[in-house]
């Protein structure tokens, strides 16, 4: 059964259904979207079931010629990098839909956009063909743009346009890189291809590799967003409607580090080694800078947005430690950040619906009025801080472990980000929920059933991952070890090993990833 295709396009089918069903009431539109998203979650869990943890290569691969004359194919597959991101996407989308119960205008269109967004995100995590990846990666801008601009608050249009242009400008360099790689496959293999399994066998000159690395890296760094390309993020996160913030923070940002892991390390190993230190420094600057700026915010949504800059810095740091611990930690941390930030935005959304403000100065004392929302926010904050027993702890720990292995100074500075994180998150909790409550907030409604339905599963998963992360790590590790071995083999090559070794390792690696697939169904 084509699991992955079904997984990717089921939400699109739901979107088409919504588009055609002109008479749907708001409740019906919500129900359809939620059911489709839940069905997709079931499919995603099916993919986990079909996934073989021992295999480091691409699994459940499906390939169909798309434009055969240029070697473009519809090629999807899953491995340890993408597996949990896919599950995260399928898990967060229903939560995002539940967060939009308060939206009253053009509900059908909003739900359709959410579903098409899910298709695009899943597609970009699963595509193994560079141009196919780009199609999904770029197409997801449109629904997100409409969502921020159409349903956001305040300076929504400014935020939406800024988001779109920043990301599009970044991916313009990616597009040039992709076209160039295709041109190289024509030159070297006689037949053009966008298949990354073919492209990683290209032998590229060092300078060329570096340029391509930079092109790809800019595109992904904007998405992450890495300091200093992050300025679109606070605007977009703050002005987006709750569902938009959740999808943006929990899912869209992951496309950046995922792209670096999947493409930068794999296709340009030499250049990755060259640039790793510089990127590590940028990541650490991002960690500290994001945390400091977050401390100064009075808008709680903006605070969480800057905390994302800080947390995503950890992810990038982990990837470019080029150690197995760091990379595994980074992948796990992507999932963790998705869960905790998703829940934070959900809690903020609940508050905003009731108080109509995001300014922490105007809140306060809400713990007595809405104790359950306060509890939700507290759990999400503690998870975000990295309290042991909750999910973030393991990921951050692994990243820091890896960074000490690579460069202890980077690791040491990065740790301050954890400390600062505790400060701003607990401040935020204190300002929002403790102290005297303003008169006008008396009698606010506490958490309601559909919100409970969204919050409980997220907290359950957080606890589970905090206590028993091995379920996730067992499936991540083979892939990260594969890519780290691959990159470090090149590093040794640079250190003066015989030139032929690289080709040899390349072949071994290609075989290693190709061989197990023949056994899989």
């Amino acid at each position: 059964m084509p699991w992955l295709t079904a997984l990717i396009f089921l939400p699109l089918a739901g979107m088409i259904l919504l588009a055609l069903w002109r008479g749907a009431s708001d409740a019906q539109a919500r129900a359809v979207a939620l059911l489709v998203a839940l069905a997709d979650l079931v499919l995603a869990l099916g993919v986990v079931g079909a996934f073989d943890p021992a295999d480091s290569g691409y699994q459940l691969v499906e390939q169909v010629d798309w434009v055969s004359s240029v070697g473009l194919s519809y090629l999807v597959g899953v491995d340890g990098f993408s597996l949990w991101l896919v599950v995260l996407t399928a898990f967060i989308t229903p939560i995002a839909i539940l967060s939009t119960w308060g939206i009253a205008t053009r509900v059908r269109l909003f739900m359709a956009l959410t579903l098409v967004l899910e298709t695009c995100i899943l597609g970009s995590f699963l595509a193994l063909d560079l141009l196919l990846f780009f199609v999904f990666f770029e197409a997801l801008l449109v629904p997100m743009f409409l969502m921020i601009g159409g349903w956001g608050s305040g300076r929504r249009v400014y935020a939406a346009v800024k988001f779109f242009l920043f990301t599009m400008a970044g991916s313009a360099f990616l597009l040039i890189g992709i076209v160039y790689l295709w041109f190289e496959t024509v030159q070297q293999f006689g037949q053009g291809s966008f298949d990354i399994r073919r492209i990683e066998q290209l032998s590229l000159a060092t300078t060329t590799q570096r340029w391509l690395f930079v092109g790809f890296f800019i595109a992904f760094a904007v998405k992450v967003p890495l300091f200093p390309l992050h300025t679109w993020l606070p605007d977009a996160h703050t002005e987006a409607p709750t569902a938009g913030s959740i999808v943006l923070a929990a899912l869209l940002l992951k496309a950046g580090p995922y792209g670096m892991l999947r493409f930068n390390l794999d296709l340009f190993p030499e250049a990755s080694v060259t640039f790793a230190d510089a990127i590590g420094v940028l990541a650490v600057i991002g960690i500290v800078y994001g945390a400091i700026v977050a401390m100064m915010q009075s808008d709680v949504k903006r605070l969480v947005a800057y905390s994302s800059v800080s947390h995503m810095g950890f992810v990038i740091l982990g990837i470019f430690t080029l150690t197995p611990e760091g990379s595994s930690g980074a992948v796990l941390q992507m999932v963790n950040h998705g869960l905790s930030t998703g829940l934070l935005f959900f809690a903020i959304g609940m508050l905003y619906e009731r108080t109509h403000t995001r300014d922490m100065g105007e809140m306060g004392g809400l713990a007595t009025v809405t104790p359950w929302i306060a509890a939700t926010f507290l759990v999400a904050s503690l998870s975000s801080i990295g309290l042991p027993g909750l999910n973030n702890f393991v990921g951050e720990f692994l990243v820091i472990l890896g960074s000490f292995g690579a460069d202890r100074w980077l690791g040491a500075v990065a740790v301050t980000g954890v400390v600062l994180g505790a400060i701003y998150m607990l401040w935020a909790y204190q300002k929002t929920f403790h102290g005297p409550e303003p008169e006008r907030h008396r009698g606010l409604l506490d958490i309601v059933p559909h919100e409970v339905a969204a919050v409980v599963p997220v907290i359950a998963v957080m606890l589970f991952l905090g206590v028993y992360p091995n379920v996730a790590l067992d499936r991540i590790n083979p892939s990260t070890e594969g890519v780290v071995t691959w990159v470090s083999s090149v590093e040794q090559d640079q250190d003066g090993l015989p030139g032929g070794l690289r080709v040899k390792v390349q072949e071994d690696y290609a075989q290693a990833i190709a061989a197990p697939q023949e056994g899989s169904p």
Partner: protein
Amino acid sequence: MIDTPPVELAPIAPELILAGAAIIVLLGGVVFPRLDRLVWLFVSLAGVAGAAAASILLWDRDGSLTALAGSVAVDRFGVVVRLIVLGVAAIGLLYGHHYLERSGEARAEFYPLVLFAAVGMTLFSISADLIVAFLALEILSLSLYVLTGLSQRLGSVEGAMKYFLLGAFSSAFFLFGVAMAYGATGSTSLSAISNALAGETGSVALALTAVGLLAVGFAFKVSAVPFHMWTPDVYQGAPTAVTAFMSAGTKVAAFAALMRVFNVAFQPLTWDWQPIVWALAAISVVVGSVLAIAQTDIKRMLAYSSISHAGFVLVGLTAAGEVGISAALFYLVAYAVAVIGAFGVVMLVSGRGEQRTSLSAYAGLAARSPLAAGLLTVFMLSLAGIPPTAGFIAKVSVFSAAVEAGAWPLVLIGVLASVIAAFFYLRVIVLMYMRDPEGATEPDPSLLPRLTVAVPALAVLVLGLFPGLVIGFLDSAAVLRW
């Protein structure tokens, strides 16, 4: 006895059918002035369909490379370009019929003028002789001058006047170029020019002058900077239905002729004309994209956008030969469907007498007419080159052609210009979906034009999702025979 060349009419059957239909409608309009104009629409559409069928029959035609004593080429390139032009003409006729009926300016001359312009366009693309090319150019230009001035509005008349004056000027350049080419090589036939230049029997200095002058003539017709000045005024002034037809059709035909002349006649001088194309491309993408941002009228904005798109086609054409031609053909198809669709929506929104063509008329359109807003969004995304639309695949294909030609800096300029351009396409979407309407005016609710606009929208999506459907045909059409 005089030796007459063999007369083979099959290769120009599409043009004959079109011209025949045009003459029938022209005379019919005089003889039966009271007949419902719907009849003339159907006769014209039948002519277009017949011409399309005749072109398709030419697809597998072997035999001589050229027909009518070397004046027209017989190849698949010609077939593909004809089909694009005929598709554009059919949509243009449907638009125009509706537009003129509604504005009360209906005249029977409209149909034959569109058909004659289409004859000029298709003939331009297949001409294998510079004199024939000039004739075709004049046929299409004269028809378009009149079509531009078809409405009684001042803008329409002004646009026609500008178009005529500057167009006549550029025709002179073109003709001068033809003369120079003749002076250099002693022939106006493309293949003879090519042979003379390859054999170094012609004067290179004169030939280079010819290349320059012809490039000016073509650059004017495709509206490449710095020969683009007429475009905004004419696009804005002409009745929107005519603008739709003209913006798509002229660009396709002029580029087709440019590809043929430069890749056949001046093929030996490729190294000399490539820098010209390079420069025109670079200036056009930048100037078109930047100036479009400042526009407040959607027709003018689309005019500047068409200038930048001319630049993108030229980016693809920096790769000489088949690679560039096939990429440029795909780009032209993608551009033609998107722009004719976009002008279709503009026609629906602008109302009688073109009262509402300013961008502010699009505020809140999504609430008033979700269909029109949705269609225009598709066209804007395609023009901006966002996947999964045809415009994206087109952008990738011209960029990969340019990469193959080693035109790195040009690709970089093109990519950055496309980011700039995304801004003003997005602005239309922002207006439609994120602003409140300013007036309560409804867009034209008629069914026929809406159905017509849906056709290019479908084409944009199908070409974006399954480009393989046409790429095979375009690749085999990219081989010019001479």
